[in-house]
Chain length 101, copies 2
DNA sequence: ATAAAGAACTTTACAAAATAAAGTACTTCA
DNA sequence: TGAAGTACTTTATTTTGTAAAGTTCTTTAT
């Protein structure tokens, strides 16, 4: 029985579907440009833009804008605090899974 | 790299915060009455009522209304299809965790 | 006997989030 | 040079989640 499963342990910023995908990808890749992230998460430009902004506002990623030749290049990088938050999220989720199986 | 992490593998009906808590509890308890579920998930009456209805509409739980003495008693039970869906959710989540750590 | 309080919900209203559509500012190709 | 494409952002719409209010009864106190 997941007696001690605290629903509040699941960070809402991370729990969002697309944001979870972004964090999962960045957790191993470290950083990625906008286009790659869009492909990996199979999301639309608009949605990705919005969700990356939210992660940025939470301090979980940093966003750097440069140019690759003539084209704009946005690079999203997982921050230290983002990594910590993601690890905590995974820990809470793992506990839920263990307790449920 | 969670190359194969398919964000769509995460069943949206289950992914919702409170619904996830309900499913997690029911996955081990099998069934519970409204009041118990409310206490275990620390939710409000209104929210619980709404989310249970959604799980019911998805066919993941069955809801039976009886009386305990004079008081109404609503019993929520995990269905076979609900268990399957939850297992699939856990499997997708486990894969995400494994790939991310 | 009856009013006040409480239990067990449901319904409706409101707020937040996700998605989709449209817009901007270029660049490249024909 | 103009049509299509890239790399985004902003705004609008839809969906979802939460909170507030309402309903129907029961229990307790007077």
């Amino acid at each position: 029985m997941p007696e001690d499963f605290n629903i509040e342990a699941l960070d809402d910023v991370i729990h969002g579907r697309l944001r979870l995908g972004i964090m999962a990808y960045l957790s191993t890749a470290g950083s990625a440009d906008f286009t790659t992230l869009k492909a990996k998460t199979q999301s639309s430009d608009g949605n990705l833009s919005v969700q990356v902004r939210k992660l940025e506002e939470a301090g979980y990623v940093t966003v750097e804008k440069t140019f690759a030749g003539k084209k704009p290049l946005t690079t999203i990088t997982l921050s230290e605090s983002g990594r910590k938050a993601f690890v905590a999220y995974l820990e809470a989720m793992r506990k839920l899974i263990d307790d449920s199986t």
